[in-house]
Amino acid sequence: MTELAVARGALDRGRLLRLAQQYGVYAGVAALLLFNFAFTPHFASAENFRTQAVQVAPVLIVALGMALAIGTEGVDLSVGSVMALATSLLSLYLGYGPWVAALVAVVGGVLVGLANGALVAFVGVQPIVATLALMVAARGLALVLLPQLKDVRDPGMSALGSGDVLGVPYLVLIAAALALLVAFVVRRSTFGRQLLAIGDSRPAARLAGLPVRRVLIVVYVCSGALAAVAGVLATARLTASDPTSLGTLMELSAITAVVVGGTPLSGGRVRIGGTVAGAVLIQLLTTTLVKHDLPPSWTQMAQAVVIVAAVYAARERGKR
């Protein structure tokens, strides 16, 4: 009798922990929302939600690519610099029209991703080192192309930055569409399955005849392209190209969103829904503290607490 009770207690605790790992992010988002509805004045307004969503969109898009890289037991530190490169390219090629310029910017991101992927897959450099090199290189290139801040005056761009459909900003629509696309690819495509297998056990994936190198390259290309899209969108919203500051520390925000969202750094699992929620959670946390007139240092400390909690949960999962 007693033994049974003890066993059930342990089981319940294990299940509770697993539930916390699975749905902790969502619970966090819900709790913050409830708190704000109750205590923050002017929170429950369409205008506020619009602002929040528009602010979170670029981080979210970058985090999608980061989630893929982390799923292969890698990381992509070059994303912030890719955003800067994208903004430089965009303002340089704006003369050919906004579409061409945006396309060139994304191609720039793809090329950086190719370089990252080639270094990781063929040269065998650790992802953290390879993408660190490209992080420095891409930022440098962005500054060579466009040395200082420049206004972006283009009707198409400003429409992209501030327009909306039925009250939902384009930025948010694009971010949502990309999140759905990436989630679909991870869940349903051969590429997604191969990515997870490679992240979980590289030797086994190699012996099973998976195209390990190709998958790795495609992962970093995706990450680069997504970061470039985020750069274009951020430029459109700010109506200015600023390669010195755009995307700085973006790689860390993206990693935070991915980790808080429950994707383990050891690879083999990618949680897109969690990543979205992770990005939203950090955004809400910041807003909550700002709206209650707490200094920015509090925000950073609160973020640290969230990250530690997420890592703690991930550690427990690793032990199981």
Partner: protein, 505 residues
């Protein structure tokens, strides 16, 4: 000098050592031999303080000791030289020699000049000439091993434990190593020597202890023990012991077609394989015999493209296969069930379903999207055909038992419809019931016309499962047993044969 009595060590689920007695005497080279899983590594780790024993006593210099860390063992004069050199590759040779006990000058700074001079002297004394200022990694593996040895000698080791020191050495380097070992012996150092190479054992060792399944099955001087007896002790099979009826589930011979489907010629990998050739006909099970380290797994990996070869050709059905590429080998119809199931076989975090479908994915998808209905059908078929016991296709493979993991891997390969199946220790570490099922399955697959290569340390399984056995030794084919000659007796003789008499096929 160093001895253990009644030592037992239990790991979760495994009894690695039970009631082991072992004594290394001063001025003696003592060989420690046994097949995989016999407990050699565990015993070494108990001797050197990596693992504390669960029961029994370690005595050093006549006093009972209890090392809790490798450092304590080192300070007591026990040095270990592992297969892989564990020094700091980027530091200079001299710094590596004196790592942790650098000569100090005034102000407590390292006296580099003295260090270099002493390092140079120490290496010269062992007959090694290298520039001690060069970083260690610029040296060959052999020379690095020598530095490790010099370090062991320099710390006034009283006991030196060597774990397969010659596995990556050139013959000339082996010669130097033996010189050093003799030097150590003459100085009164006790040497514990672990190796699978018979010739080396008989050249350098004075005494031998044979471990099997965690127990000492023999200990005594090596001189009076002939090779055949030693091999049979290691494998646990008696010479001339004839079994009327086997214990395995194999039915025996198959009707093999005339033309081989797999042809491998002259496979050569530096230090590992020398001109290994073999061919397998459809419907035939070819066994690879030999001791641990004889190149069995390497042969299978080379054929499957997982080990790049320096020379040699592989062809399937007369069509050459590009070497060094697992995908190319798989496309040609060669599938490898790797030896290390956990690290190289299963993808533990993915489900049973996805593990089975992994290799066949490109064929099971349309426009890059996975065709779930087809996967479900295939997974269902194999789960039933191989009787994989699982809570459901979405259970993680890491949670299954060893036998069921192995069946999942077999299903993964059968789903790509291979022509040649290379099985490296397919029944290791799985329970008796699953073992019989896997053996029956191998039989069935051969009946269906698959060409099977079987590697097994279980001699009985190898003999009864195979139609033909190719015997490897030190990376060379030394014998081939066919027809009535496929017996344990013949296999033992072939493995134990003195070199230079081997035929090459």
């Amino acid at each position: 000098m160093l001895s253990v009595t009644g030592v037992s060590k239990i790991f979760p689920g495994v009894r690695a050592l039970s009631d082991v007695d072992f004594t290394a005497r001063a001025g003696q080279v003592h060989a420690l031999v046994g097949e995989n899983g016999a407990g050699k590594s565990t015993l070494i780790k108990v001797l050197t303080g990596v693992h504390p024993p669960d029961a029994g006593e370690v005595r050093h210099d006549g006093r009972p000791v209890r090392f809790t860390t490798p450092l304590q063992a080192q300070q007591a004069g026990i040095s270990t030289i592992y297969q892989e050199v564990n020094l700091v590759p980027l530091m200079s040779v001299a710094r590596n020699l004196f790592l942790g006990r650098e000569p100090r000058g005034r102000l407590g700074l390292i006296d580099f000049r003295r260090m270099r001079r002493e390092a140079d002297e120490a290496l010269r004394a062992l007959g090694i000439r290298v520039d001690v200022r060069r970083p260690l990694r610029e040296l060959g593996v052999g020379a690095q091993q020598m530095v490790a040895l010099a370090r062991a000698v320099a710390v006034d080791a009283r006991v030196v434990v060597m774990d397969e020191p010659t596995s990556s050495l050139e013959p000339r380097e082996v010669h130097t190593l033996f010189e050093v070992i003799r030097l150590l012996r003459d100085r009164g150092v006790a040497v514990v020597y672990v190796s699978h190479r018979m010739d080396e054992l008989y050249e350098i060792c004075d005494a031998v202890t044979v471990l099997r399944d965690g127990r000492v099955v023999h200990t005594g001087p090596l001189a009076g023990l002939d090779r055949l007896r030693l091999v049979s002790l290691m494998l646990g099979r008696d010479i001339g012991e004839v079994r009327g009826e086997g214990l395995t589930k194999f039915t025996g011979s198959h009707h093999a077609a005339a033309e081989p489907v797999l042809n491998a010629e002259g496979l050569t990998v530096r230090h590992q394989l020398h001109e290994v050739s073999l061919s397998i006909r459809p419907g035939e099970v070819v066994g690879l015999g030999g001791l641990l380290g004889s190149g069995r797994s390497e042969t299978a990996r080379a054929v499957a493209g997982a080990l790049p070869t320096d020379a040699g050709r592989v062809s399937v059905g007369g069509v050459p296969v590009r070497g060094g590429s697992p995908p190319a080998a798989i496309r040609a119809g060669i599938s490898l069930l790797p030896e290390d199931r956990k690290a190289e076989g299963i993808v533990p975090g993915l489900s049973v379903r996805e593990n089975i479908a992994l290799a066949a994915l490109p064929a099971l998808s349309r426009f890059g999207l996975v065709d779930d209905a087809r996967i479900d059908r295939i997974v269902d078929t194999f789960v039933r055909r191989l009787r994989i016991k699982t809570a459901g296709p979405h259970q993680k493979v890491g949670e299954l038992s060893g036998g069921n993991q192995q069946k999942v891997l077999l299903a993964r390969w059968l789903a790509v419809h291979p022509k040649v199946l290379l099985l490296d220790e397919p029944t290791r570490g799985i329970d008796v019931g699953a073992k019989a099922e896997v053996q029956a399955l191998i039989d069935e697959l051969a009946e269906d016309g698959l060409a099977v290569l079987l590697i097994s340390s279980d001699t009985e399984e190898l003999i009864e499962g195979s139609d033909r056995v190719v015997v490897l030794k030190d990376g060379r084919v030394v014998d081939e047993l066919t027809g009535d000659a496929v017996t344990e007796d013949a296999l033992l003789r072939a493995v134990a044969a003195v070199p230079a008499g081997g035929r090459d096929d």
